[in-house]
Point group: C2
Chain length 244, copies 2
């Protein structure tokens, strides 16, 4: 069998340059949507409903009797109940519940991947790095690592997570992709000092003003919430999938 391909997409604006129809798209929004999704699901949430808009979040939450969550500029959105911090979703709170989540970048990209015909969509962050890699290797599909960035701009934390995945799985793929090569090298350059390095990123400067340092450190620590969130297009939900 010909080797599968592996690409990294550095901004949602570049997603349509890649063929998604025979691929798994990994939606990456390290600060903080995909870290929070993994955390909620690994702590027993029944399902996460990612939605792009605030009104849709409120309506769906009411209909389902679910927890609604979303922030803009580090504040819980008026009319929603919770924020985007993984720390808000311990097992004691979230187990058995549904979560409807809207975020600035990650949920938007997830919808784009679906609209552009992705065969499969999962979400990834450092907290579930191992599960993501295990799933991608065992799948029979091409891989597209899709970074959410910040309002379509490149960001380092999403790129470095893509690089962490590339470093673990590239030997199983045919890789002719400058973005993936760069991402891997950025990750390897900072792997040992991630918590120091992220203090140089623009996202850190944006969020530290809201006192989120602990949050951000959790988001770049591998393994804190090992689970594989797979999107179910019938239900519009992300659910934890058992790995073989």
């Amino acid at each position: 069998m010909e080797k599968r391909t592996l690409h990294t997409v550095l901004s949602p604006r570049l997603l349509d340059l890649y063929s998604l129809s025979d691929g798994v798209v990994v939606v990456i929004d390290v600060f903080r949507a995909t870290s929070t999704i993994a955390t909620a699901l690994s702590n027993g949430a029944r399902a996460v409903y990612p939605v792009a808009g605030v009104e849709q979040c409120k309506q769906l939450g009411q209909k389902l009797g679910a927890i609604t969550a979303g922030e803009r500029n580090g504040q819980v959105i008026e009319g929603l109940l919770h924020g985007n911090s993984p720390a808000e979703y311990p097992r004691s709170f979230i187990a058995g519940k549904d979560l409807v989540l809207t975020t600035t970048n990650g949920t938007k990209l997830l919808k784009m991947a679906l609209d552009q015909g992705a065969a499969e969509v999962i979400t990834g962050s450092f907290v579930n790095l191992g599960s993501v890699c295990q799933y991608l290797v065992s799948s029979n599909k091409n891989v597209i690592l899709a970074c959410s960035g910040w309002k379509d701009r490149f960001n380092l934390e999403d790129t470095m997570f893509a690089g962490a995945v590339v470093a673990q799985i590239e030997r199983h793929f045919h890789m002719n992709c400058d973005s993936s090569l760069m991402a891997k090298q950025q990750y390897q350059l900072h792997e040992a000092d991630m918590k120091t390095f992220i203090r140089q990123t623009s996202h850190w400067h944006r969020l530290k003003a809201f006192g989120l340092e602990k949050d951000l450190e959790f988001c770049v620590t591998p393994g804190g919430a090992e689970v594989l969130p797979l999107y179910n297009p019938q239900n519009g939900t992300l659910n934890a999938v058992a790995l073989g």
Copy 2:
């Protein structure tokens, strides 16, 4: 005076996310448009006319009695006289002449920068790294390092040139830009082994099939054609500008 800003744009698709109206946009297309532009001008070409399309290239060339040049997939375009290789423009050939040039990525990006209201446009590649840095530091404008990429995808050679500029000039600027930080680190990682490293890039694989290795090595060697190509919107030309 408040410090000027410095940004790196990794793909033409992302250019409109940045404010260009008070900035110098550096158009970067290392393989090979902006390397060839610098080479022709440093060897005495009177002016370079960058044009987006083949027909426009032919018509303008005829009108001006200029040399026309352009390639697609490593071959001179039918109806044009020359290719995109810097090696085709030694002083003995190009001095005192006009060159009308169309390329896949670089000339397109230059037009985009103008359409989006850039205050000033210059072109840069490793061959004129020193001149570009000297000009940017002495200018009183913000700086946007704009990578042409390949058909809107990210590429490493343009990014590393942006990184080389960042490394030299960032102390004069306020930099809160993950792209610039990444570009600088990629450059510093490979500065000492550039000729080896570029063999890993996707563009190398694309062009080496056409026997262009020597060309590509020239394009990543600093200082081979020190000149500052500044776009003149009245004439539609890039001209060599004397540096103070």
